[in-house]
Amino acid sequence: MFSNVSRSRLLPMSLPFRFFGAATGFQIAAWALLLAHSKEVLSFEAGLGPVFASLHLLTLGVLAMVAIGATLQLLPVATRQPVRALWAVKLAWWLLVPGVAAFTAAAASYRPDLMGPGAMAVTLALAVYAVLLFLNLRNARGMRVVVMHGWAALACLVALAATGIALVARYEHGLALDHAAFRSAHVALAAYGFMGLLAVGLSQFLLPMLALAPPPPPRTAMATLSAAAVAIVLASFGLTDVASLLGLAAAAIHVYSMERSLKARLRSPLGSSFLLVRVSWACLLASLALAALGFPGGTLLFGLVLVPGWLLTFLLGVMQRILPFLASVHASTAARGMPLISAMTPARLLGVHAALHVTAVVLLMVSTLTNLPWLVRAGAAAGLAAAAAFALFYGYVLAKVRTYGNACPPSQPAPA
């Protein structure tokens, strides 16, 4: 379908980094919007408005944006297949960025009539990405576990787009459908399906690689994937109780196998990125436990544990590591040599970022239990500060690529 195949599995730096840059900006916008409308958070149920827009700035603007940028760079390593068309990657970015901006701006200003064009651009961007993912997985060799997670995530992406279009059609044209059922399916397919399965699949090779650890046993990973896939299908059809229990079992096995793998690692310092990854795993388990228990604390608490807690925290933890790694690769030239990853890693800033982000997530969760609006404000402010710290980190990495890192040798070991 696409010509102009990339020769190598290593993409030009501008391709993945444009997705990471856009996600950095959308993350700031999401937290700023939440802070500006913090009074509306505790009464949020599902309708349009700033809280809905903030949620979609995170899910589409940050999570999907990074998922596309990161998988197009990392999956070719696992599948031994280059990305099929670099122009299609650029097209996906050019559709997704204005699409997310238009969709969330319309939603924030309660204008369902204007959400359609943004939703359409986002859908087209995801369709282009889905084709790229399909072409990459179709000829994949090696790392069967990662490839199978990729196929399952792709199937969820297709179903996710279908439910998303149906929901937008309901808002815009009054399409008659069971809103609650479609919304539940949309959430399960997005958070546990598309994003969750990509995260779990790539974890199987990425985290052991970063920590110099053996990968989890493939049989365990495949069993976990099978259970998770069945759970997602059941959740999509409204069988929440059984789905959440099965999903919880799958997630527990995944976390246990990853922890066993990390325990056997050769490098001891794991750094703030792995702290975030572990917090995200706790949130993944907590979200499924909440669902299994019938959502005590309400669906708002569940949503906070799920989106900023599990998915955003995991993604930020991984980004803390792969941004300097990819930047060091791209900063290398024959004349200047390869810069050290530690020279591209502002360890203190990343520590501050991790602390602020975890504080934001905890404050928001506590606010839903205590019903205290000032805690929402404090949580959103901490989230905004964390997003600003992450933007500084992104700028730092880009500046280091331009100036070729730091010639000084390290005084301390680099974290894994």
Binding site: V77, R141, L266, S268, M338, P410, Q412
Partner: protein
């Protein structure tokens, strides 16, 4: 890291594991503020052999095959890392030979540990899986024999 299929990939993988184990010890020791003279000497000897044999084999036999298979920029990247590791490695080896308790070994050792770990990660992700795809049994046997003879 996945176990490679081909003989030559497996051999390189085993050497990578030994390198990671040794340099993780070096890194931990230096980070604790110790300059363990015996460990520094052992690291220097191992590094000299690695540069002499492992690097030379990859540059002569494997990187050209990678480049011919359309992975030229990865081959180039790995070769650039060899240059940086050689430069730091030669200074480390000279210092460790002269005085294995020399304090200047700490920054050099930490730099080498980081460079070697990062290099092994990239070869495990890109070079070895590519070799598994590129080599047939005959070429694999030939390369494995040539490597064993070095």
């Amino acid at each position: 890291m996945e176990m490679p299929v081909r003989q030559v990939s497996r051999r390189l993988h085993e050497e990578h594991e030994a390198t990671l184990a040794l340099w993780s010890r070096v890194e931990a020791s230096l980070a604790a503020g110790k300059i363990d003279a015996a460990l520094m000497r052992s690291a220097a000897v191992s590094l000299a052999a690695e540069i002499e044999r492992h690097f030379a084999f990859e540059e002569k036999e494997l990187f050209p095959r990678l480049a011919a298979a359309g992975e030229g920029d990865i081959a180039e990247l790995l070769a650039e890392e060899h240059v940086a590791i050689r430069a730091a490695g030669e200074r480390f080896i000279a210092l460790a030979k002269a005085d294995p308790a020399d304090q200047r070994l700490k920054p050099l050792g930490l730099e080498l540990a980081e460079r070697l770990v990062s290099h092994v990660q990239k070869e495990e992700m890109s070079l070895l899986p590519a070799l598994d795809d590129l080599l047939d049994e005959g070429a694999d046997h030939e390369l494995a024999s040539a490597y064993a003879a070095l």
